[in-house]
């Protein structure tokens, strides 16, 4: 009942007027069989009364009536199609936007990373191109159909009862039983489908893998083609075999349906014919009873309405579960507000520890670090030292498992509000987002709260040295950065990196106070990297800059270098100080320097070689 109301409310919310019109039309459509039967009965009675008089005047009225019913039917069908589409699209578009809003706005990403969350998103996504899924919009219309069907069935029953009341239970009971059985079959299918989401993900991943150029090389060199296809096939079989089983059961069930439907029809209709011949009823009412009686079985559920309703409801329920999961309280006790107004630091990590959910190893462990305004701070460390994790904590994407992070004048991040804090920073991640939108959008979406200003955009592009890339775009700033878009182009890794750098510098020009870059120059050649570094160094007058890199030759120019090792900062100072300290940094640097003296160079990139 709750589900029914929910679906009908959805329909209502998609446009009251449209909803009413659709409801009226669908009801009218369901009344057509009863109306046809009635008009037909009238026509038959008139025609039989005519005998062979040659006078057809009396039959003209029911004839016209029939014409009207026919026209109404056609009109209803024509109008309902686009209107239903409109309503369905409105509901589904709003639903999908809701899912995006929900998932893109949970404060941290750890909840979103859970496989459970991803499973729910798949269920809630209501993608119209997904054959196996129905959408909330379709479900809402199916719900309306079910209500209309009930009215239509009632009307047909009334017509049938005109001939004999006992015909109604005789036909109605098996029709309902049949619907019930179908419902169970569909339900089984939905449950199976639900349980198979994991397999479907696996199949999809393998298909992508097989068609990717990267894996394609390995498949060929190591002769894995047949193996991979076989594996895909196994997964595919694992997915379809249980479906086949359910399908086959359902098909056998339809044989049962036939046995359930045909005998009562046979008994009822034969009785109608026999009684009419016996003179117990008029030919007209008999005609009406036969026509309306048959329509009963057609109107009481063909199974797909039920399936659509259930499957679409799945998406709504998955959304509810997702909302619950993503807004779950993390259970960390609220710590008393700490305010240290005298602090000049932008960010201070105090004894911060972090362990990824579901793992036991502490990636960060008692980390202390201060980030000051106007400073270019470099963070170095081995692979897996926790550099990227540190950035995610800094951006509030994870909450520390222990310790605390003070931001913006010594307040805890939760006190300032993670949103407010994020407005003050700009981060370039290693795996930054590539929007399939225009170049301008790709930059301004780094700061969506600010009204785009062409001059600021241009200035940021200048800062980042984006000019040469822009010059090559056919439609300048308006060129979509994806080949799949009309007039769009694909950029290389290095070009993208410059776009994203522009995004970060644009954020800086529109008010960010701290710029964080995780390996921002991995795809750039050394000359460009050097230029970028110089530009960043210029920016630090207005803001703090944090740079993560394992290219020590670049990093050495930073104002301060910190070494991340074993989950904490073990060394901190300028390049010269750290060399003088003769600790791990000095050793790391020595490896590169020594290798260079033998001709080794860690930081040689393509552009510099020749």
């Amino acid at each position: 009942m709750g589900d029914t109301l929910r679906l009908l409310r959805l329909l209502w919310s998609a446009g009251k007027g449209t909803a009413v019109v659709i409801a009226v039309i669908r009801l009218a459509e369901r009344l057509i069989p009863a109306a046809t039967a009635t008009v037909l009965a009238l026509l038959v009675s008139r025609v039989t009364a005519l005998g062979s008089t040659g006078e057809i005047g009396a039959a003209l009225l029911p004839l016209a009536g029939f014409g009207v019913v026919l026209l109404v039917g056609h009109a209803a069908e024509a109008v309902t199609e686009p209107l239903s589409y409109l309503v369905q699209q409105r509901i589904d578009g709003a639903h999908r936007a809701k899912v995006t809003r929900l998932t893109a706005s949970s404060p941290t990403i750890d909840l979103l990373e859970q496989p459970e969350a991803q499973r729910l998103i798949r269920q809630a996504k209501a993608d119209p191109d997904e054959f196996s899924q129905r959408t909330p919009g379709q479900a809402a219309l199916a719900q309306l159909d079910q209500v209309a069907d009930a009215v239509g069935v009632a009307a047909a029953c009334v017509v049938v009862a005109q001939f004999a009341w006992w015909l109604v239970p005789l036909l109605l009971i098996p029709a309902f039983l049949n619907a019930r059985l179908r419902y169970r079959g569909r339900m089984e299918f939905i449950q199976l489908w639900r349980s198979q989401l994991d397999v479907m993900v696996r199949v999809e991943r393998w298909e992508e893998t097989l068609a990717s150029a990267g894996v394609g090389k390995d498949l060929r060199v190591f002769g894995l083609g047949d193996w991979a296809v076989r594996r895909l096939h196994q997964q595919h079989v694992a997915r379809t075999e249980p479906q086949f089983a359910v399908w086959k059961r359902n098909l056998r069930g339809q044989l049962r349906s036939l046995l359930l439907v045909v005998p009562p029809l046979l008994i009822g209709f034969t009785a109608v014919a026999a009684l009419t011949v016996d003179g117990h009823g008029s030919v007209a009412t008999a005609t009406a009873a036969l026509t309306a009686g048959a329509s009963l079985f057609m109107m009481i559920d063909l199974g797909y309405t039920v399936l659509t309703r259930l499957s679409g409801l799945e998406a709504l329920k998955a959304y509810d579960e997702l909302a619950e999961l993503l807004t779950k309280d993390t259970g960390r006790p609220a710590s008393p507000p700490v305010t240290d107004p005298g602090s000049s630091s932008l960010v201070r990590f105090e004894e911060v520890g972090f362990t990824y959910p579901g793992t036991t190893r502490a990636v960060l462990d008692g980390l202390d670090l201060e980030i000051r305004p106007g400073e270019l701070l470099a963070i170095v460390g081995l692979n897996g030292a926790g550099k990227s994790t540190l950035i995610k904590l800094l951006a509030g994407l994870y909450e520390p498992t222990s310790g605390r992070i003070l931001v913006g004048g010594g307040r805890e991040m939760s006190e300032l509000g993670v949103q407010a804090w994020r407005e003050r920073i700009s981060v370039v991640f290693q795996d930054f987002v590539k929007y399939e939108l225009s170049a301008a959008d790709n930059v301004t979406l780094g700061r969506p709260g600010v009204v785009p200003d062409k001059a600021v955009l241009e200035a940021a592009a200048r800062d980042a040295g984006l000019g040469p890339v822009l010059d090559r775009l056919p439609d300048g700033w308006q060129t979509p950065l994806a080949r799949s878009r009309t007039g769009g182009v694909d950029l290389s890794g290095g070009q993208w990196q410059q776009v994203v750098l522009t995004r970060a510098l644009y954020a800086l020009r529109t008010g960010a106070e701290l710029l964080v870059l995780d390996e921002p120059t991995a795809h750039l050649d050394v000359r460009t990297e050097f230029e970028v570094f110089q530009r960043l160094a210029e920016q630090r007058a207005e803001a703090g800059v944090v740079l993560i890199s394992h290219r020590l030759s670049t990093v050495r120019q930073a104002d301060r270098i910190v070494l991340l090792d074993g989950g904490r900062i073990t060394e901190s100072g300028t390049h010269d100080e750290l060399i003088a300290l003769d600790g791990s940094y000095a050793k790391l640097f020595a490896i590169q320097a020594e290798r260079f003296q033998q001709g080794y160079q860690d930081a040689i990139e393509e552009g510099e070689l020749l």
Partner: protein, 596 residues
């Protein structure tokens, strides 16, 4: 057309082989449902006429006919759809491995790299389901048309005059089709908007892109743009549907007028004793069902037409795979041991669709047992040269010989069993860690000892220890496993390349780009040792592509490429001694850059 029929015939054979019962049932039910449609009309007439004339037998038989026909129609409709889906899935089980077999089996890489090919590849890959339904869509279209024909014929039995309804029925058929076309056109025209909203949905709901979106606070904006793209597409599609509705409505108004006129004729006939009340009822029954039948014809025909893209992509891939296989004629096996080595003889290669030579007249002899380093800037042809060696591409002119045998004459599969490689854009196979490594030598997929050794060679033992389930850890978070960093994936690829024991060619393409200095150092030492060991065992040649000097200086031979041409070659000592040479110049620049 011929190709279509052949494919459908084949799909029919597949269905018949896999599910003979369902296949026969689908055809049987289609035939029965036509009979049932006719049965409803004819038996209803019998009931009425029997009742009117007091003929009990006729009336009862007619009633039975009505009951059976209606019962069958009610059940068959759902059954036909179920069978349709079942058979399409059965076909899918055979066609999908076939399609992926082609994709994975084509010797070269063009189809995975060239954008014009990729479009069609994706077309074949993403529309497998439509491909599988195409046969049954066509069958259903024919079925609906036959049903329509049967219905009209029955009308003709009432009065030949009613056959004049044929043009009246053809009009809505044509109008409906017009409307449907407008809708299909709108769907194509708005595909981009829907693609965009799907892209934004994915960005908004994924955890990796979620980082950027959260920090920038762009979630709301993404949702807004997604909804806007959706609404834009949906609105245009709605308008097309409104136009279609007009077409449809006009067509049916004409039909309704014609039909009521026809019915008046029948009633007139009845008044003059030429027709019966049963005839009237039957005509009405048939007319009421006509719209549904016409819609089925139009709908199934549109579906059939809609599968064309899928079919064309499929044919393209099939023909491309066949053509590529036909081009592969090599049968020679690689030698057990290299004696002379590899030789490039005036080799040139141009990427299809580009006007610049990626490799331009390269000639060089690489003796057996050599460690050769290839250096050069982006686009200088380093990776292309390697790809020619593993036969991902074949030279446009010139030839590459292995101990005197042209690579083109080698059986590619056999030659590749004697290669091991780690590529820059290596594959991320989301298997278990052990499998990811073990796949480097398929026969030893489960050889723990060898896998452990390969892991050691890639300096990945510590990584494995840290994984929650060690070697058995599933990779890929979406599959319930762990996500690896770029550098960690690189170690998997390196370990994979260390699996094979007896390669003749060992390729390391930027093997350590994402690794920190100490790891790189450790890995490099081990790989060099492995290269030397292989050289001794089989005379294997190790090719290292790198921008890093650490991997260059120790090589026996350094090839310097520039714009596809081989400009210098020699040892580190020789090349740095060349006054004004490129390699030497560069060395000077680096020295200065590093020591400031």
């Amino acid at each position: 057309m011929r190709r279509y029929l052949d494919l459908w015939a084949e799909m029919l054979r597949i269905c018949w082989r896999r599910a003979p019962g369902a296949t026969a049932a689908l055809f049987g039910l289609c035939a029965l449902s036509i009979a049932a449609a006719a049965g409803i009309a004819l038996s209803l007439r019998a009931v009425i006429d029997g009742s009117v004339h007091g003929a009990l037998g006729t009336a009862v038989v007619g009633a039975c006919g009505v009951a059976l026909s209606h019962g069958a129609t009610a059940v068959f409709q759902a059954t036909i759809v179920d069978l349709f889906l079942l058979l399409a899935d059965e076909t899918d089980l055979e066609l999908r491995p076939r399609i992926y077999g082609w994709i994975a089996g084509i010797e070269g890489l063009d189809h995975l790299e060239r954008t014009d090919f990729l479009d069609r590849l994706e077309g074949a890959r993403n529309n497998t389901w439509q491909l599988c339904t195409s046969l049954w869509d066509t069958v259903l279209a024919v079925h609906a048309a036959l049903k329509l024909g049967a219905t009209l014929l029955i009308l003709g039995t009432v009065s030949p005059w009613l056959l004049f309804l044929l043009p009246f029925a053809a009009l809505p058929l044509w109008f409906d089709h017009r409307g449907k076309q407008a809708v299909v056109e709108a769907e194509t025209g708005t595909a981009e908007a829907f693609r965009l909203q799907r892209h934004l949905f994915q960005l908004g709901t994924r955890a990796d892109s979620g980082k950027d979106i959260r920090v920038a606070g762009a979630g709301e904006e993404i949702a807004r743009r997604q909804a806007a793209a959706w609404d834009e597409g949906a609105h245009l599609r709605y308008r097309a549907r409104v136009r279609a509705a007009w077409w449809k409505f006009c067509g049916w108004v004409v039909f309704a007028c014609g039909f009521v006129g026809g019915l008046a004729l029948v009633v007139y006939g009845a008044a003059h004793g030429h027709a019966t009340a049963g005839d009237v009822v039957m005509a009405v029954t048939v007319a009421s069902g006509l719209r549904q039948t016409v819609q089925a014809v139009v709908g199934s025909t549109a579906n059939t037409l809609g599968t064309r893209t899928a079919l064309e992509s499929y044919f393209w891939l099939r023909d491309y795979a066949a053509a590529e296989t036909a081009r592969t004629t090599g049968t020679a096996f690689a030698p057990a041991r290299l004696d002379k080595g590899l030789a490039f003889d005036h080799v040139s290669y141009r990427y299809p669709g580009t006007d610049r030579l990626a490799l331009d007249d390269v000639s060089i002899h690489i003796p057996a047992g050599t460690v050769v380093a290839i250096v050069g800037e982006y686009g200088s042809g380093k990776t292309t040269l390697v790809k020619l060696l593993v036969k991902f591409y074949r030279p446009d002119t010139g030839r590459i010989t292995l101990d005197g045998t042209d690579l083109a004459d080698l059986d590619t599969a056999n030659w590749r069993t004697r290669i091991s490689a780690a590529f820059q854009d290596f594959g991320r196979l989301e298997t278990t860690f052990a499998e990811g490594v073990g796949l480097g030598d398929l026969p030893h997929l489960n050889d723990r000892e060898r896998i452990t050794r390969a892991v050691r060679d890639a300096d990945a033992s510590t990584l494995v220890e840290r994984l929650p389930e060690g070697l058995d850890t599933q990779l890929g978070r979406e599959l319930g496993g762990v996500d690896l960093s770029e550098g960690q994936w690189q170690r998997v690829a390196l370990a994979r390349s260390a699996m094979r024991d007896d390669p003749l060619l060992f390729v390391l393409d930027e093997p350590t780009a994402s690794l920190d200095a100490p790891s790189e150092h450790a890995i490099f030492e081990r790989q060099m040792a492995r290269a030397r060991r292989l050289a001794e065992q089989t005379g294997a040649i190790t090719v290292i592509v790198s921008h890093r000097f650490s991997t260059v200086t120790g090589a026996d031979l350094i090839l310097v490429l520039d714009g596809g041409r081989l400009v210098e070659s020699g040892t580190h000592a020789e090349l740095s001694a060349v006054e004004g040479g490129r390699y030497a110049d560069l060395y000077g620049i680096q020295e200065a850059a590093y020591n400031t």
